[in-house]
Subunit: 358 residues, 2 copies
């Protein structure tokens, strides 16, 4: 762990974490999940960071969710004992060997959304103890089987020799202003149908897993045993614009410097290589500025954010301006370090699983 030298800020653009807000976000959601009687298994793809994972586990998370074997390796190497790779992996021999190694050191589960992938995993992971969850599509139409076929897929997996732990979905279509509640409704329906389909096939799912940050508060918690939100830890401009997190709860910003006043606007040194280029259809720009609620990032290049400040006077050249990225998972994955504001200065948190896409 390193600290920034006294009196010297890190060079902009850099990501800055408000640790008090981060803790508050983690604790609020952990309390809510505990009250609802569901396990919380936060998605670590958002932060990719051991320090944040430890805070999540210390506030009651049952384990971590990750997207890739590489992410799982980083967290298991650091001592995390329960990891779910919520992804329909297609295993190579090398991937299977890595999973076997992980399963010797942690409770490990993977996603499956086809009988072919289940049979392959059963063969390559035989005896390793790696379990599987069947992925169902609850409306995002990305991966996952139709919920009514989940039991049939689970039977195929069991018959192939793969231990089946339950079912999961990601209601990612919640990322739209009008869909926060309806996506949660879809999620509940899909998981109910999937559970019924397991039972009709003579199987009982131990884990029924869902959750996304936008739909979280609308979750039908009676239909699930586990939630896997990721973004809730930091929040971002998408959550701000969806109305699912307050600006005062957003725990990560990109600190940037005003480098130009060209055209009577400000240009910041935080571009798409620091903020990420995500721009959902409902987004009003490429990130938001906490100090300027009416401002919009109207143009984004790799190292320039052009900001229209509306009627606000232009801050001087050299001024720091904070930008909340649209999609925090993307911004974090561009950085090697998160600078954590702990009250006693800035602490460097390594983005340990950055770039671990495989």
């Amino acid at each position: 762990m390193s600290r920034s030298p006294a009196g010297a800020d890190p060079a902009t653009p850099y990501l800055r974490v408000d640790v008090a807000r981060l803790r508050a976000n983690l604790e609020r959601t952990a309390r809510w999940a505990a009250d609802a009687g569901v396990a919380l298994r936060p998605h670590a793809k958002t932060h990719k960071c051991l320090e944040v994972a430890r805070l999540q586990l210390d506030t009651g998370a049952a384990g971590l969710t990750v997207a890739t074997i590489g992410e799982a390796e980083v967290f298991v190497d650091a001592g995390v004992e329960d990891v779910f790779i919520a992804y329909p992996l297609w295993l190579t021999d090398q991937a299977a060997a890595r999973l076997r190694d992980l399963a010797g050191r942690a409770d490990l589960a993977i996603g499956v959304d086809s009988a072919e992938a289940a049979a392959r995993a059963a063969r390559l992971l035989e005896g390793s103890g790696v379990a599987a969850l069947m992925e169902v599509d609850s409306g995002q139409h990305r991966s996952g089987v139709a919920p009514e076929t989940a039991g049939q897929l689970a039977v195929a997996a069991v018959e192939a020799g793969l231990p089946v732990r339950g079912v999961f979905t990601f209601p990612g279509h919640s990322y739209a202003p009008a869909a926060l509640r309806t996506a949660a409704d879809d999620e509940a329906r899909a998981l109910r149908v999937a559970t019924a389909s397991f039972r009709a096939a003579g199987l009982e799912p131990d884990v029924v897993s869902g959750g996304s940050t936008p739909s979280l508060e609308h979750t039908h918690t009676e239909e699930l045993t586990e939630l896997r939100p990721g973004v809730y830890a930091f929040g971002d401009a998408q959550q701000w614009e969806l109305g699912t997190m307050e600006p005062a709860d957003l725990a990560l910003v990109c600190r940037a410097t005003v480098v130009s006043h060209a055209g009577g606007r400000i240009v910041l040194d935080a571009g798409s290589k620091a903020l990420g280029a995500d721009r959902a259809s409902y987004a009003t720009g490429w990130g938001r500025l906490p100090a300027y609620a009416d401002a919009r990032v109207v143009q984004l290049s790799e190292h320039h954010a052009v900001v229209d400040l509306a009627d606000a006077p232009l801050p001087a050249l050299g001024t720091y301006v904070d930008v909340v990225p649209n999609h925090v998972c993307a911004a974090v994955n561009l950085a090697d370090t998160l600078w954590a504001e702990t009250g006693g200065g800035l602490e460097a948190w390594s983005v340990a699983a950055r770039g671990r896409n495989s």
Copy 2:
């Protein structure tokens, strides 16, 4: 330098460079620039890679362009002797110290687009030998002063004590199907006006610098001394869709694996964390597939690309499928390694300047 172990491909998703195509792209543009009598100073932000920089310098590039001090450090540390940071830097004491160090080892120039930044640079870089180019706006409306005021800015810089080498612009508004030629026309006009404005102020610009990959072949080379394209080295789906590079010239793909057939489409394991999330208004999807000209990436998450293959039969689960990223600079900046296909297998090229945003 490392090689992939015999018989084992890198785990997908990974970036793969066709070195023969890369060389052909570099040589073609170098020949064209030499024939036109302009210097070529490729923008290294595209590749961030010493191996590609060496190929560019070996095929006649006059030096490199970079966007940040951190990128300059990587290339100067590797022995590159002439670097232009084409960015309107606002210098801190730390940034100035880093530039002084670089200037001791290389010919170094920076961008300036305000009298304040020029005065600050003059003071902090005094005696270092760092030169400056005045940035003018040729129609992108990002950074840069109005061309007719370039001479006035140059005079302010000279009077403050900053050595002025010339003028530069980036005609980035060329990134639109109807603007390839008009952006080049705008660039020529802006540089002509800026040059006249220098002369009216009693100054002669030694360097008149422009260029962007989409506008390149329309450049009015008689108005410039130097071109700074970046993307031309690899190409990407943006160039393909703009019609400025042929699919057969594209030298970098993201190799991905088919992990799911959900919904009767294919899902690849290359998401926005491998491809980048850039999607220009004219783009037809989030990347293009060389083997399937009619296919479109219709949905992109962090680790999923959902592909509509049109009428093509679905490749089996586990099949490799190559995707050309929309914006190659963004994709490269997400990877630690480019896997270069040299004919004798895959060679690992480090993305040495990845993430060097400051």
